[in-house]
């Protein structure tokens, strides 16, 4: 049975992890390879690296990081941030990433989704959507949540999938950083509207929040960052809760 995936997210800049795991057993908490190995061994089902500066002059540094991560772990990983062309996608995928994630560039140029899906298959193309609640709907944001665009998040989700996105990474701007739970209403609305898997992001604080994102938010995967990095929760604890609730989880790795 297809498992519900648990995905730690790592922010990187200049090939280094920002706000990384700070454990005694890691020599270098800023090293993406050490972080990746740690989560690989801990049972993460997948990893996401987001290049938060995403300047084009840092491209070679990012590609080098992707290659070093790919040779160090045997689980899939996604890379996002600053991907603006099919060629950018190709370089990252050829360096060993399994999927690329696009957000602002997909909104600016929706054709990029279609071109990427045609070149590499839909399963490689993740469209990340940053959504903020406005009464009974959600607005779409770009540039890491700094700019609002006049687009309904649910309509955009549907369009992204029609254009070839193979997965959606849905972040609630309202919940992000609060540790009070995911926006399950937003997640469920999108999950029911589209045929592709949904990754829930923003708001995880407890094991129950992850269970709720699956059961109420109908998510196919759950993402968290600082919660894992600061060891407030372990992947094992979440998987144990999943199994208790009869949510399929991968326990051998």
């Amino acid at each position: 049975m297809l498992v519900k995936r648990i995905i730690p997210c790592l922010d990187v800049t200049g090939g280094r992890v920002v706000k990384g795991v700070n454990f005694v057993d890691l020599i270098d908490a800023g090293d993406p390879v050490e972080q990746a190995r740690f989560y690989n061994d801990e049972g993460a089902d997948e990893l996401i690296f987001l290049d938060i500066t995403a300047s084009s002059d840092g491209r070679e540094i990012l590609l080098d990081m992707v290659r070093r991560v790919a040779e160090s772990i045997h689980i899939p990983f996604t890379v996002g941030g600053g991907i603006r062309s099919v060629n950018d996608m190709r370089e990252i995928l050829r360096s060993g990433a399994d999927k690329i994630s696009i957000n602002t560039s997909a909104i600016k140029n929706p054709l990029l989704i279609t071109q990427g899906a045609k070149a590499f298959g839909s399963q490689c193309i993740v469209v990340a959507i940053d959504a903020k609640r406005k009464k009974n709907s959600w607005d779409t944001y770009t540039h890491g949540g700094r700019h609002s665009v006049d687009m309904d998040a649910i309509a955009w989700a549907k369009e992204a999938v029609e254009r070839g996105a193979g997965e959606l990474l849905v972040t609630s701007m309202d919940c992000d950083g609060t540790q009070k739970g995911f926006d399950n209403e937003l997640l469920a609305r999108i999950s029911e509207e589209v045929s592709v898997p949904i990754i829930a992001s923003g708001g995880a604080g407890t094991v129950q929040h992850f269970v709720d994102a699956i059961e109420k938010g109908k998510a196919d995967a759950v993402l968290a960052a600082s919660l894992f990095h600061f060891r407030k929760l372990t992947i094992r604890e979440i998987k144990e809760a999943f199994i208790e609730k009869a949510i399929p989880a991968r326990t051998q790795y």
């Binding site: 049975m1 790919a70 050829r94 060993g96 298959g121 399963q123 997965e167 790795y253």
Partner: protein, 198 residues
Amino acid sequence: MINIVDYEGGNLFSVVKAFEYLGEQPQIITSPEAYQTGKIVIPGVGDFGDAMGELNARHFTQFIHEKAAEGVEILGICVGAQILFQGSEESPGIAGLSFFKESVRYFAPGGKIPHMGWNTLKIKRQNPLVVDVDDGGYVYFAHSYFIPAAMADYELAHCEHNNLFTAIINRDNIYGVQFHPEKSQKVGMQIMKNFIEL
């Protein structure tokens, strides 16, 4: 010696690194002329038609058939496994390598498509490729089209998502895996090790 066919098929690097992890020094071949000896791996991410187009453009199609006839072990991964078939609903009218007669199909409705993530293998037949692979072991899939589980004689393992489909196939020296062994931790490494040792 492991030869990995480079046809701009995407995730080549991870396949190379996984073989290196297992102690091999795989050779990347961008043309049939680069081949000297040993097994052949056809990786693959993307579209059935594009994959065949790239293979044809690099004159790999004829070469793969010749090597297959000589008894060289060949392993297709993901789309690399699908193109071992006659055709695919993904690319109507495009001929595959046709080692297997069936056609690759689009998933039945139900769960989310692409079938993305870790799912369990049901081992159907013992074979050197699946030695020490646990029945029920998890491997990583990422695909929207599937190999029909209708060829009991050739199926080594199947999996289920909306419908049953073939996860590992084998006929004589031709092998295909629908999932990504290079991204499937312990189970994936075991299958790649088994392929090396065939």
